[in-house]
């Protein structure tokens, strides 16, 4: 793959424009109009610059055929920035959206703006600059047309890439104006559109990359192919703090395609091969003697103990409170588990390097690689590829430095990758946290005090009007790397706040929606909460076994969720309905905003109900999507997203849909069952109303051991059974079947069978043994 240089295009830089470029570079805007006919002018006007060296400073390039190329600085990882950011530019320049192409920025493209892609900041941080960039281009094109026709600019109307004459019949396309426009002095303060006049912003637009994605042409990091490229994997440590004492690569080197198995400085033991299969097989064949290090007794249980011990003293609520409520919450580690595991292609030469990396910041990737291989940053080209999921993981770019070091050591271009297990066990995790909350109520059910202290989690005052709220956080260190995970500290802080406020509402005997509303000042946030209650028909009675929960957050944007669940007598949960309301200011692309709300809700349901990273013997236990379970199609409720109409500046959407979804769900479970689940994931707790939830309909059954670790035996008898076979199945909390097998039935309807259920994550499951119309269901617990 070559760097994306299009040598057919040259740019004109007038001295004015050049100074404009420099002057505005600090705010991240640069503008160049292109023309195919004026190469000599470029060289004459700015002799020290070549056309090629100026090309990377493009925000906007218009070709004579009207193709409009917009450069996007932020990384695309599914949040839709390549679409939404270019929509902002295209809106202000009145471009023909069907002719807009997107180009990904690089760290060496000066003046284009930071590539850091995190904190839901892409649209909010770029909105003003991109509007100005688009408006500048539009103003120059209008000036050019006016000059050409000898009329005033006020008599020129721009629309969809064409300028037409007011009260006249002349029309000219942007493409036809590139020469003329490039001679226009860049306006310093072009007028921006009135938001009410927006034609593109606010309309639903599919992602610009969809055609490439559905045809398989889209290039993610793992899809980059460079001539002569080899494939590399590394040996991950068997436990946090472990190291390799010695290794024997004899068998590895016998595998066809394996080229090397050597230590690489700053990386570890690396296997290099002609293809991924040989690299992975070669790694499997290594004989390694381990030094296990000092963390082998570290486990989720010991971490939990230390988190609890680390809470220290927690302030009290005022002593004159009529009621004092205290609750403790605990959240697990979470992996990012992006669909595309960490990877990077590096081609390191003696004095230069080129990198292709799916990262959440090309500029940080470049500085990291520069440090790793000892080359100056300006000798390194970093191409940011499409990203198969980020969620904060790719703000840590150690994998890029690994790739570069390997390429340097072996003097060959390499594709370095993590396997799924490497990725899940080599993450920067959302930290496990422990929270203590205290609340006080007076005789009227008004809050008298609020205390929230967390260990390793977020703690921030909720957005309600509370008397002297007291939120604080402390830390206990563990040898487990942690990092940003979609909505970061809000994953725990908002969860705990919104569950605990629900506990206070219940203790006060108040409706949980009204309790919240009455503590919010009038404004955008309260309106969102009210809208969610209205759309969800908050007061409408629900069937028996159903429950409804509400929660809200003003993290990133104003969001409220109402969730309806049903819980069967056995404890099987179904998420029946999700209403999500968001006020994110003006929704640049409502189709993208809706997608973010839906996707974040899936993350919230997955992590609230099923997924957790646990530690055993100093190592992460989970290795793939079988034991780190995400929500699946059959578990997916319909999520009704409502976007509030707004003309205000946009606020962040990549993370906003997460924080209030999980507490709304847990509050709904409480409403349905009377059970306050305060330890996530929910799957660890039985939701059954019947304590020993043996729903024996036709016969009897013994399960032993129960709880079990990996396998258990069943021994029982089915009444009214018919043929000689039983079907055995295991369902999860959501009623999804995870295991199906057959067993033999004796003459009297007896059965005895051992069942291996080792791959699943810990939690409560439901075992069903069936023959014809006879069935037994039994709750089982995997530890």
């Amino acid at each position: 793959m070559n760097t994306m240089k299009n040598k057919s295009i040259t740019e004109i830089q007038t001295p004015t424009r050049r100074s404009f470029l420099i002057g505005i570079a600090t705010t991240g805007v640069g503008i160049v109009l292109s023309s195919l006919t004026a190469k000599s002018e470029v060289l004459n006007m700015i002799p020290e610059q070549t056309a090629q060296s100026f090309e990377p400073t493009l925000w906007v390039k218009i070709d004579p055929d009207g193709t409009t190329t917009i450069t996007v600085a932020r990384s695309e990882m599914g949040q839709g920035v390549r679409t939404s950011l270019s929509m902002i530019v295209a809106e202000e320049m009145d471009a023909d959206w069907s002719k807009v192409k997107i180009r990904q920025s690089r760290p060496d493209f000066t003046g284009i703006g930071a590539q850091f892609t995190g904190g839901s900041s892409s649209v909010t941080g770029s909105y003003n600059n991109l509007r100005k960039a688009g408006a500048t281009v539009r103003a120059m094109l209008i000036s050019a047309a006016a000059k050409k026709w000898g009329i005033t600019e006020a008599n020129c109307i721009a629309s969809k890439g064409v300028i037409s004459e007011k009260n006249g019949s002349r029309k000219i396309t942007y493409g036809e104006l590139t020469d003329d426009a490039s001679k226009i002095t860049v306006p310093t303060n072009p007028s921006l559109k009135n938001v009410a006049d927006y034609k593109l912003i606010g309309t639903p637009q599919p992602h610009v990359d969809n055609p490439d994605i559905v045809s398989g042409k889209a290039k993610y990091g793992l899809d980059v192919r460079v001539p002569g490229m080899k494939y590399a994997v590394m040996v991950r440590m068997i436990a946090f703090g472990a190291s390799i004492k010695s290794f024997d690569a004899t068998e590895t080197l016998k595998i066809p395609g394996v080229l090397k198995a050597e230590n690489v400085s700053g990386v570890g033991l690396v296997v290099l091969a002609d293809n991924t299969y040989s690299a992975l097989a070669g790694r499997d064949a290594l004989k390694i003697e381990w030094n296990m290090g000092n963390n082998t007794t570290l486990s989720s249980a010991s971490i939990s103990d230390r988190l609890r011990a680390g809470i220290g003293s927690v302030a009290d609520v005022p002593s004159n409170s009529t009621q004092k409520i205290e609750a403790h919450y605990e959240l697990p580690y979470l992996a990012h588990a992006t669909m595309e595991p960490m990877n990077c292609v590096a081609d390191v030469r003696d004095t230069s390097a080129e990198i292709w990396c799916p990262s959440q910041g090309g500029d940080s990737t470049r500085s990291g690689v520069a440090n790793a291989i000892g080359l100056p940053a300006n000798s390194i080209i970093v191409n940011t590829t499409l990203i198969g999921g980020g969620f904060g993981r790719r703000l840590s770019m150690e994998y890029a430095s690994f790739a570069a070091r390997i390429s340097k050591a072996f003097k060959v271009p390499v594709l370095f990758m993590f396997s799924r297990q490497d990725d899940m066990r080599g993450d920067y995790y959302r930290p496990a946290s422990y929270h203590v909350c205290k609340g006080g109520l007076d005789a009227n059910g008004k809050v008298t005090g609020w205390v929230h202290k967390s260990v390793n989690g977020g703690a921030q005052n909720p957005p309600y009007q509370l008397p002297s709220p007291n939120s604080s956080a402390t830390t206990v260190n563990f040898p487990i790397p942690t990092g940003a995970w979609r909505s970061v500290e809000h994953t725990s802080a908002v969860f705990v706040n919104e569950c605990f406020i629900d506990e206070l509402a219940f203790a006060a005997g108040k409706d949980p929606f009204e309790f919240r509303r009455d503590m919010l000042p009038a404004g955008r946030f309260r309106t969102v909460l009210e809208k969610a209650a209205e759309l969800a028909e908050w007061k409408k009675p629900l069937p028996k076994g159903w429950g409804r929960g509400i929660a809200c957050t003003n993290a990133y944007s104003a969001v409220a969720h109402v969730v309806e669940v049903s819980v069967s007598e056995q404890g099987i949960l179904k998420v029946e309905r999700v209403v999500a309301v968001v006020d994110c200011g003006i929704a640049i692309n409502p189709m993208g905003v809706e997608a973010q709300m839906q996707g974040a809700a899936v993350d919230a349901m997955s992590t609230a109900l099923k997924s957790e990273i646990t530690i055993e013997n100093g190592q992460v236990k989970q290795s793939t999507f079988r034991d780190y379970e995400w929500l699946r199609m059959n578990e997916m409720p319909k999520i009704e997203v409502h976007i509030m109409a707004s003309t205000q500046s946009p606020s962040g959407m990549g993370e906003a849909g997460f924080p209030s979804m999980s507490p709304a769900l847990l509050n709904a479970i409480f409403n349905a069952t009377g059970k306050r689940i305060r330890t996530l994931p929910v799957q660890r707790t039985s939701l059954s109303a019947v304590e020993n939830s043996e729903i024996t309909t036709h016969g009897e059954i013994n399960v032993f051991p129960n709880p079990f670790h990996s396998s258990f035996k069943i021994d029982g008898k089915l009444s009214n059974s018919q043929s000689g076979e039983i079907s055995i199945s295991i369902q999860n909390l959501l009623g999804s079947t995870l295991l199906e097998t057959q067993g033999l039935l004796g003459n009297e309807g007896n059965f005895l069978q051992e069942i291996n259920f080792s791959p699943a994550s810990a939690g409560v499951y439901f075992l069903t043994v069936k023959n014809g119309k006879s069935a037994i269901m039994r709750k089982i617990v995997k530890e």
Binding site: M77, G78, Q79, G80, P204, P206, H207, D209, N210, P211, I213, V214, S215, G216, K217, A218, K219, Y220, L222, D223, R225, Y231, P256, G257, D274, N275, T276, Y277, L280, A337, T338, M339, E340, L386, I387, G388, G389, G390, S419, R420, M591, G592, A595, Q598, G599, A600, V602, D603, S606, T624, F625, R626, W630, L631, R632, M633, N634, E635, M636, K638
Partner: protein
């Protein structure tokens, strides 16, 4: 030597017989539209259509398993994004990061071949083993219905 057809082209390959089809496609034939997600058959990102009838997880199928088979990958579903699933996927804006979508589409293609008018239940049954970490399930479901003309 293994011989099979990929996207209408006959290929004869001299690779280890146990090499998973996934790596044959990606690293030998340079068909990178088929994605690696887990390598152990639990995510579905690597699904391809075999003999125009079933979706196969190419990380579990070996090269030798494919002898004489007719394989279609995402690159071969149509030459111009005209397959009803591709059209519905683009129109309803299903992809977020897009990484799993080739597998989702190939599984949906197998579903529609065997069941041209699937119900929600049918879609659940056929698609429940395909992970989308971005959570696009709601739009995948709508797009399958749209492609089926439901």
């Amino acid at each position: 030597m293994t011989t099979f057809t990929v996207n209408g082209q006959k290929k004869t390959l001299d690779v280890p017989s146990e090499m998973p089809l996934l790596w044959v496609l990606r690293d030998i034939l340079n068909l990178t539209g088929t994605k690696y997600g887990c390598g152990v058959g639990v995510c579905g990102a690597c699904s391809v259509l075999v003999d125009n009838s079933i979706a196969v997880r190419s990380c579990l199928a070996t090269c030798a398993d494919m002898e004489g088979k007719n394989i279609v990958t995402i690159e071969g579903l149509s030459s111009d994004n005209s397959h009803p699933l591709q059209k519905a996927w683009m129109e309803l804006d299903v992809p977020q990061c897009g990484y799993c979508q080739a597998g989702q589409i190939m599984n949906a293609a197998a579903l529609l071949i065997n069941n041209p008018k699937p119900t929600d239940e049918d879609i659940n049954e056929s698609m429940k083993d395909d992970v989308c970490r971005c959570g696009t399930y709601q739009r995948i479901r709508e797009a399958i219905h749209q492609a089926a003309g439901n």
